[in-house]
Amino acid sequence: MKKFIVIALTSLFSYGVSAQTDSTRKSHPFKLDFLLSSDFINTSYGSHFGSIVKAKWAIHSGQHLEWFMGIASRHSYLQESSNRFTEYVDGFTLDGGAYFVSELLLYPFRKKHFFIGVEPYAGVTHTFSKGTWKTDFDNHERTFKHHYTYFDYGISQSIGVRIRQFSIKCEAWLSLKGVLDGGRSRLADFDSRFLPSIGFGYYFN
C-alpha cells in the first residue's frame, strides 16, 4: 500500500513537471481544498482527528502570486474515552465551525510548482463536550455536557506543490482567539486549536 502511494505521488508529480514546462499557468477561477487534521498537542486527552474543507474563488492570479477568497468548514472529534489517564471516562469533545477565508499563495520560483501560503480566517466555532464518569469504587454515575459558541479567528500557513489542476499541501491551522482582546496568552487549546493538517486542492476551470 505504501509503495502504491509513493509510486502514485511520484508519477503524479513527474507528470505535472513534464506537462507544465512553460511559465504561463492557466488561470482557474475556483478551487476546492480538502485536508485531514489532528491536534498533536492535546493527545493526553484522547485521540483527535478532523477535516477541513474550503471553497475559494480567484481574485488575482499573477506570475508569482495568487489570491483567493472563500469559505471554509472545519470539524474535529476528540475521543476522550481513550484518554491516557483513566478508564472511568466515556466521552468526547466535538468542535467545528464556518469561516470566511482569504488565501495568498506565493510561488517563489520560476517554475510554478512549489508554493507557500498564508490564509487568515474569521468565523464562528461551536464546541460541544459530553461524557459520563463511572468508577469501580463508586456506583454513582455522573454526566457532563457543555456547549460553547464563539467568534473565532486566526491564520493558516501552508506549503505545497501545484501539479496542473492539483495541489498537495501541508497546512498549520492556528486559532488566535482571544489574542486581540487580551483574553489569553496561551494558544493551542480546546477553544483555540492548532491543527497541523495534510491534504489536496483541486482547481476548476
Partner: protein, 269 residues
Amino acid sequence: MKTGGKLYRSFLVFALGMATLSSCKKEKLSELGEIHAFDLYSQQTQTTYSIRAVIPNTYNPATPAKMIYLLDGDDYLREAAEVIHKTGKTDHIVVGIGYKGKNLRGRDFSYPADPDFPGESGGGKNFLICLTEELIPNVETELGIPVKSRTLYGHSLGGFFSTYVFLQQDIEHPFTTIIAASPNLMWYNAYLFQSEEAYSKQSGALPGNLYMTMGDLEGASMNLAFGAFTEQLFLRDYDSLHFQYEKLENTSHRNSPIVSFENGLSLIP
C-alpha cells in the same frame, strides 16, 4: 506585473504583522519587585532547580511574609508576579520553581508511576521531600525574612501534585493553603479518589485551605473528574478544612492558571 508587485508588498506587510501580533507589551519581572534568583541542586531528586523569588518593592522586611511556592515557575512566574503587583499584596512573595535543564514536571508532579505515561513518572514523593527538606529551607534562608504562611500552587499535573501533597500522610508538609488549578485528577486511574477515601477512614479532620478550579472548556474528562472529586470532598465535610472550588466560565486549560492564582489569593490567611 505592477498589481503583482503591490500584492507582493501587501503580502509581506501582512506576514510581518501576523508575526508581531502577540508581541504586546509585557512588564519586566524586575519592574514588579526585587528578584532573588539562584540554582538549587537537590540530592533527593538529583536535579538542579531554577529558583526565582519576587519580593514586592513595597514589602516591609519586618512583616512576616506569605510565601507562595509556584510550580511551573518557568511558565507562570511573571504573570503571577503581575497579579501580586496589580492587587497590591505587599506581603506576598512568589517563589517560582523551575528547572535549570530539562523540564521534569512529568516525573516530579506525579505519583504513583504510570507505565503508560511517556517518559519518567511517579517522583512526586521524592519531590515533596525535596521541597520540604531542601528547597523551602534554602529559599527562606536565602531571603532571610520572617514567614507567616506557605502556599503551594500548581496547574494541571502540578494541580494534581498540590492536591496529592494535601491528602498524603507519609510526609509532613509546611503548606497551609493549596491552590490546585485545573488539576489532572484522572492520574493513575483516579488515584487521588482512593487516597482521599483512605484518608477519610483515618481522620475526620483535614486542616488547611484548599482551592480548586476547572475551566468549562477543558473537555468532558477533566470536568467529570473534577465534578466527582469536589463532590466527594465536599460531602466528606472534614473538620478544619476550608474548601472552595470553582468552575471557570468560558475558560480553557491553558487559560485557567492565572485566573485561578488570582482567585485563590483570597484564601491565603
